[in-house]
């Protein structure tokens, strides 16, 4: 007969960001346990609050089915003496509990052996759970673990109670010094019942009576409704970022909403400051009306509301905003332009001067970049000078929540001082994207300064020896490079990246060698393209020869990938052919052009003529950046190349002829390199 089961791990408050992942994994691990043990069940659901993670398994089989199993015994040569089972076999049967009649000789891959059949009794589900639960719970993943008691058990927070029930029966286990039982706990302060007996069937209902909404979906939708209602009472609209809503859902067991009021004075602060104070530290929801903040906030609390609670929350927010106001008023005493000089009080990176030095380098780099990109020079130069000035403000130096507003604060202060909007925008936009998936700059000038800033920081980190390796990337260089690549792609800038990197490095040291950082960039480009669905090796092949026009590279990679998908055999032929050409040219370094008079075979004359023709065509298509046409024309040469290899012996004894043939192949290869170094592509299943 099938039964329902309940497992609840009761804890001290788990971090809000841990519980969903932990609970869904717990459910998956438990499901896997049931399946590997051939235990049938009809459903498994998980629930969580900050103080519990629970599984309800419905229709769980009470025991495994009996199974017939076969056990391998001695090899056939020791099996029988005079037609009877040997002592060895009898001992085997006895030790394994196999009846003589169930013995037989069978062939297996490794030869013939005695096999014994027996019925393995299905084990009871509760015994299997009892045996495995501790191991299962140990596998629940958390970002960080702690110890708290003498068995040294690892979990995100201390486990304080355990409910493990199947049907009506407690499965008794002891984990982290806690013995399982049938009693759960209600809300920490609202529930008055000490011993709260539950069953798998009444679990959620009993808890609801004791002020715990254990179903996270229900809790979330309840909270969302409450927030919306509070906001509409004020005639406004609540800002409900999904991650904040999820966090708040996982901070309470018994959600109730309150609305707090603020003095209007605080609305003179930059709105981002007010919102940060509300959201990031207090987990409050701001309210807007006609795109302006209202002097109110909504808080989700974990108990029944009263005036004291509202007043308390208001006071806390006020004290945070007071602090912001103190910063704001102090900051405004010095204009951003004056702050430019204070940049030499802030170190950029150890041994590499101050932020002022960095800004000066960015200015020099801007002049260089101007050769390749069209932008408003004045806006970029003024933007660069102001770009880092907010680092000297108290608001940013706070070191706590407001520090995340770097760029935004600069923008607000600049606008406030009457600096033209396009320049102010540079201060904000040059930090974008701040993380993967973040917005990109909208203005060319913001994008340009973002590129300059990143180039400088990346090169600086390489110079200091902080190049990223494996999981280590102390200066966040990968993120910077990814951001730079995304900006370049968005704006379709053509920048000779290697040259610019070299230029940027030379601003630090005359002996700068850009090869290492260029190699790093090629890898990054491939990673970014990968997220556009392009295989890594294809991108690597394409960026190996040129990283001066990333949009064109991406296009070339895309075209090659699409063609590959429809012509896999031809694709293999192309790559193998290119590898062959590259291999044969290894060690051939003569800079010579093939000479017609040295050709002997018709095929080589043919290949030469066609390559000359191809080169001409490619010139036009390269100008047009027409990847498709370039590829088709290159492909048209393949039959001739193949025929060349069939008909002509390249490595002939005659040195002159040999070198002429190699020159021809080099000339051919040069055409293909205009697309990419296809010989670098990996062919599955060998070559």
């Amino acid at each position: 007969m099938a039964k329902n089961a309940l497992i609840e791990i009761g804890t001290e408050e788990l971090p809000a960001s841990y519980v969903e992942e932990a609970s869904s994994s717990f459910s998956a691990i438990f499901k896997n346990f049931l399946e590997t043990n051939l235990l049938h069940f009809s459903s498994i659901d998980y629930y969580y609050t900050p103080r519990r993670i629970a599984l309800i398994i419905k229709g769980l089989q009470e025991k495994q089915k009996d199974r017939i199993i076969e056990i391998k015994g001695p090899p056939e040569k020791f099996a029988k003496i005079d037609g009877k089972w040997s002592k060895q076999v009898l001992a085997f049967a006895h030790s394994r509990g196999i009846l003589i009649k169930d013995l037989s000789i069978k062939k297996s891959k490794k030869g013939s052996f005695v096999f014994g059949k027996k019925i393995e009794k299905g084990r009871k589900t509760k015994d299997l759970i009892k045996k495995s639960l501790e191991e299962i719970i140990k596998k629940i993943p958390f970002p960080r673990y702690m110890r708290w008691e003498k068995t040294g058990f690892n979990f995100a927070r201390p486990i304080r109670w355990l409910v493990v029930i199947m049907g009506k029966e407690v499965i008794s286990v002891s984990i982290a010094g806690v013995k399982s039982g049938k009693f759960t706990r209600g809300h920490s302060f609202l529930s008055t019942r000490k011993k709260l007996e539950v069953t798998p069937e009444n679990y959620t209902k009993i808890l609801e009576k004791e002020y715990v909404i254990v179903d996270q979906h229900k809790r979330k939708s309840t909270i969302e409704k409450m927030i919306k209602k509070e906001a509409s009472n004020l005639g406004g609209k609540a800002l409900i970022p999904n991650d904040l809503l999820l966090e708040v859902t996982n901070l309470v067991e018994y959600p109730r909403s309150i609305t707090g009021k603020l003095s209007e004075d605080f609305l003179s602060l930059p709105p981002d400051v007010v919102m940060t104070a509300m959201e990031s530290h207090q987990r409050y929801f701001p309210i807007q009306k006609n795109n302006r903040l209202l002097p109110y906030f909504i808080a989700i609390i974990n108990t029944k509301p009263n005036k004291k609670i509202i007043k308390g929350n208001e006071g806390v927010l006020v004290s945070r905003l007071d602090d912001a106001k103190f910063y704001f008023e102090e900051d405004r005493k010095i204009s951003l332009k004056e702050r430019f000089n204070k940049l030499d009080e802030i170190t950029f990176q150890e041994g590499l001067g101050t932020m002022k030095d960095k800004v000066n380098r960015m200015l020099e780099l801007a002049s260089e970049l101007k050769k390749y990109i069209g932008f408003k020079n004045y806006v970029v130069r003024e933007g660069i000078k102001l770009s880092k000035t907010d680092l000297t403000t108290l608001m940013i130096r706070d070191g706590k929540e407001f520090t995340n507003l770097e760029g935004k604060i600069g923008y607000y202060y600049a606008v406030d001082e009457g600096i033209p909007n396009d320049i102010a925008m540079v201060i904000y936009e040059h930090y974008l994207p701040r993380f993967s998936g973040d917005n990109l700059p909208k203005t060319i000038e913001g994008a340009v300064v973002g590129i300059l800033d990143r180039l400088d920081s990346i090169v600086a980190s390489f110079i200091r020896g902080f190049k990223p390796t494996g999981s280590k990337d102390p200066m966040g260089v990968r993120r910077l490079a990814n951001g730079l690549i995304e900006i370049v792609l968005k704006f379709k800038f053509s920048i000779p990246l290697e040259k610019i990197l070299n230029y940027a490095g030379k601003l630090f040291t005359k002996n700068f060698d850009s090869s290492e950082v260029a190699e790093f960039f090629k890898d990054r480009i491939a990673r970014v393209f990968e997220t556009n669905g392009i295989p890594y090796d294809i991108v690597r092949a394409i960026v190996a020869v040129d990283i001066s026009d990333l949009s064109f590279s991406l296009e070339k990679a895309r075209v090659l990938k699409e063609w590959k998908e429809q012509n896999i055999d031809e694709y293999k032929r192309l790559i193998i052919g290119q590898k062959r050409v590259a291999n044969i040219l290894k060690g051939f370094s003569k800079k010579s052009f093939p000479q017609v008079e040295l050709f002997i075979e018709k095929t080589e004359k043919d290949l030469f003529a066609k390559t000359v023709d191809l080169e001409k065509k490619l010139q036009t298509f390269l100008k047009e950046k027409n990847s498709r046409k370039i590829l088709t024309n290159l492909l048209s040469l393949i039959p001739t190349i193949d025929k060349f290899f069939d008909d002509v012996l390249v490595m002939t004894d005659d040195k002159k002829i040999r070198e002429n043939r190699l020159s021809l192949l080099k000339y051919v290869r040069e055409q293909f390199l205009k697309y990419g170094d296809l010989s670098l592509i990996v062919i599955e299943g060998g070559e």
Binding site: E13, R144, R147, S188, F189, Q282, N302, N306, D323, I346
Partner: protein, 280 residues
């Protein structure tokens, strides 16, 4: 209820829970954790329960006595329980009830806070305890101190005394908080608070402080060579405070900051290791 009554109630509560009532340390500290009662108390096998008030000096947090919630000097009530009793959360809540806080009429929350003291090489997991949105206590299960894995684990409770007193007393501004016997916070601390802010932000002699920081660092090394662990630790604490003043003074750049913290952590680690060696 006055500040001193709150303090006395806490002392009595924790005394009854088997704590010895310790005393604040004699050098400036940024937090009660620096007190040897906690730093050394958490190390090693010995079971230990201690509670004490600590004066916390955090130069950077000063606001020239303009913000009624932020000051460069405040008081913590610090409890260390090693090993932690399994009903510790309850005991803590009872300590609040004992102060006259009606828990059911407030919103009490345990909000994740993975605590770390980079200078002490100490970290632990736990919470900020919120009362109606206000952080009133830091509740931490220490996992490491001085870079050493702890066994048994200790739990550390750090009450923000002024905040809790203000809450109990029902005043919005610390200035109006009664210390005791009709004497108010402003009577005792207003002028010092302002003057310390001027010192920390404007007057502290940067060269002098860098100079003694370096000397203190050397002293730690020298004393450890002579196995004088407690005096060495005292100089670790002193350098940590000097660093805090320099930081408030704006004398240490954002990037250099990490470097200084690392230097102090190295000292703290060496002290912890020396202590460990002596007790193993």
């Amino acid at each position: 209820m006055s500040f001193q009554d709150t303090l006395i109630k806490l002392e009595n509560f924790w005394k009854q829970k088997g704590c010895i009532i310790g005393l604040p340390y004699t050098s400036e500290v940024g937090a009660g954790t620096f007190n040897p009662h906690t730093f050394f108390g958490a190390l090693g096998k010995r079971h230990y329960r201690v509670a004490y008030i600590e004066t916390s000096k955090r130069p950077k947090d000063g606001r020239y006595a303009k913000n009624p919630n932020r000051f460069q000097e405040f008081h913590q009530y610090q409890v260390l329980l090693k090993p932690p009793p399994s009903e510790i959360q309850n005991i803590y809540i009872n300590s609040l009830r004992n102060l006259g806080i009606e828990i059911k009429k407030h919103d009490v929350r345990f909000v994740q806070d993975d605590w770390e003291s980079p200078t002490l090489g100490a970290w632990g997991l736990g919470w900020e305890v919120w009362l109606d949105g206000m952080e009133i206590t830091q509740f931490t299960y220490f996992q490491q101190v001085g870079g050493i894995d702890l066994n048994p684990i200790s739990v550390e409770l750090t009450y923000g005394l002024e905040r809790i007193s203000m809450l109990i007393d029902g005043v919005d501004s610390i200035f109006e908080l009664e210390w005791g016997n009709g004497i108010y916070w402003k009577d005792i601390y207003l002028d010092p608070e302002y003057q310390w802010c001027v010192y920390n932000f404007e007057e502290a002699d940067i060269d002098f402080l860098f100079n003694i920081f370096n000397k203190y660092e050397k002293e730690v090394k020298r004393l450890l060579e002579r196995a004088l662990i407690f005096p060495a630790y005292d100089f670790v604490i002193k350098s940590s405070h000097i660093f805090n003043v320099l930081d408030a003074r704006g004398a240490i750049s954002v990037k250099e900051r990490g470097n200084y913290i690392l230097r102090i952590r190295k000292m703290a680690k060496k002290v912890a290791e020396a202590w460990q060696k002596m007790h193993s």
